[in-house]
Amino acid sequence: MRYLRLYLTYAKLSVMSKLVYKANVIIGIIAFLFGEVASLVTLYLLVSSVPSIDGYSIYEIGFLFGLTNMAVGIDHLLTDRLWTVAYFEVKLGKMDHLFLRPLPVLFQVIASEVQLEAFGEIILAVAMLTVCGLNVSFIGGIGSILLVVLGILCAAVIISSFKILVASLAFKFKRSGPLLQFVYGFSGYTKYPLKIYPKIIQNLLIFVIPLGLCLFFPFENLFSPVEHPILLAVSMLLATLFFASVCGFIWSRMIRKYESTGT
């Protein structure tokens, strides 16, 4: 409860700091919205010429695109400072003050930045889920929808955890931004049905970085419900928890290597 209260206080200050530069925020949101729309148009041009991809209609693919975008948008909204940690903060010794407060360093990194630009992705995700959702015929009931919501939240945690893991390498190598840029691209894989990928990528996205498990399986469940949805929910939760714990553990070891800079 204390951490929730503190998070809200930190978040309030972050939004206040952002709103000092109003034009910057508005340009940021519009830029992200346009970027995502451009990627969507490319996808539309690709798939509109064919009636379906691997049996999925354009609206079904659009719905999956929306699910991934929502998870990416939530991660972007809540953990954006990890990018500056990976690119600059460790290298320039800008994190000293985070080690001086009686709070976990990771909590402060996450809580101190609410990235309003992420609303570009979230707005698009809501639009996609609404438009495409109205044009596909779901079989599953309310339980399936809840499973999808759980999947989005788990996927957001997995993306954030992966970012934490890669950003923490900066404590050892001073800069891990380019690597973070590269691996962040993985989240784009779940914008398309898992089945279109080679087996090795499928397994990677189910067992190693369980993004596919948390986004694609609940998505599939909307059309052909699984026999034990609870089992799927538990698997998603456990996989997310395990992945997040491993990443958190690596972060906690890596921060010991922080070297600051000379004064």
Binding site: R2, R5, L6, T9, Y10, L13, M16, S17, V20, Y21, D96, H97, F99, L100, R101, P102, L103, P104, R256, K257, Y258, E259, S260, G262, T263
Partner: protein, 328 residues
């Protein structure tokens, strides 16, 4: 009673071995050769509650590295830091509650928002009760004269205002220990005096333990009853300021105007060991109090040369550290 105990503390940085220039940088990409740079080399000391300790050394001597390990920023390569009986590496967050830190060259304040907001969030972080916060906040505002700029954003503050605010932010939770790393760097005389006055007052009123690193020897001479001198990661001296001054001859310098026509040969004969320099239209008469009595010297100057205008200076800590470095 000791509040901080440092035992055999070391910090080694691993640096890749590089030759000069672009070629050297490219070769280093494929090389696995590293050198171990020992920034702090097995140092030990204890600090008692309520002490004001000056931790001094040249640039690169290892003082900031020690302070950064003592306040949790750097993880020691080996050795132990115990604060209030707790092992630092295992109780960082608990110990952080009892600590306040000011870095003269890095701010801890929220940059884009009014200063007052920083204090509010610090209140939540350190869970300071309302009543205690109000009292402490008002006390610090008055002590450091902060009220005129409380509603200004931090980025619009002058360096002097920002340092006073940083100092107050480090103290708002009534820490038992305060680390000050170059707290007066770049400040004008008035702000320096204000900060020094605040340190003295806090130490007197709340028995706050202060560990101070600085290049401004006036900070040390005005505030510290104990100094630790460090060079190349090792402690050269740990003890009282008066003791080291005595060890280094307890030197005094008397300055007189050069229009008194001082007979330096007669002076040297009367007081062996005295040196006289003429510079900037004044004599600097330097002698060890272990050998020459100050009263005798003053009486001689007044009676023989009718000196009416003079200035007496103690050996400066700068001279002492210089001599210590040269000895090692």
């Amino acid at each position: 009673m000791s509040i901080i105990s440092v035992k055999s503390l070391s910090k080694t940085f691993k640096k890749p071995l590089r030759e000069e220039g672009l070629r050297g940088m490219i070769k280093a990409l494929f090389s696995r050769k590293y050198e171990q740079v020992k920034a702090v080399d097995s140092i030990s000391f204890d600090i008692d509650e309520g002490e004001i300790v000056g931790y001094i050394g040249a640039n690169g001597a290892g003082k900031s590295t020690t302070i950064k390990m003592m306040c949790g920023i750097l993880y020691p390569t080996s050795g132990e830091i115990t604060v209030d009986g707790m092992d630092f590496t295992k109780n960082r967050r608990r110990i952080n509650r009892e600590m306040g830190v000011v870095f003269g060259q890095k701010t801890q304040l929220w940059w884009d928002i009014p200063l007052i907001e920083t204090f509010k969030i610090l209140k939540s972080i350190y869970e300071v009760p309302d009543e205690e916060y109000e009292e402490r906040f008002n006390y610090l505002c008055d002590l450091l004269d902060m009220r005129p700029f409380l509603t200004q954003t931090v980025r619009s503050l002058s360096l002097g205002q920002r340092m006073r605010a940083d100092f107050a932010a480090a103290l708002i939770h009534s820490p038992k220990i305060v680390y000050l790393d170059e707290p007066t760097i770049g400040l004008d005389v008035l702000v320096k005096d204000k900060i020094r006055g605040a340190i003295k007052e806090l130490n007197r009123k709340y028995n706050t333990t202060v560990i101070l690193t600085t290049h401004d020897m006036k900070d040390i001479e005005e505030l510290c009853n104990r100094i630790i001198i460090i060079d190349k990661g090792r402690i050269l001296y740990d003890g009282s300021l008066s003791n080291i001054k005595y060890r280094f001859g307890n030197t005094k310098t008397i300055f007189t105007p050069s229009n008194v026509s001082l007979d330096t040969a007669a002076l040297s004969e009367r007081f062996p060991g005295v040196t006289v320099e003429e510079k900037d239209e004044r004599y600097a008469i330097k002698f060890s109090q272990n050998e020459v009595d100050l009263d005798d010297m003053l009486l001689y100057l007044i009676n023989t040369y009718h000196v009416k205008d003079f200035k007496i200076e103690d050996v400066s800590i700068e001279d002492i550290t210089k001599q210590l470095y040269e000895k090692h």
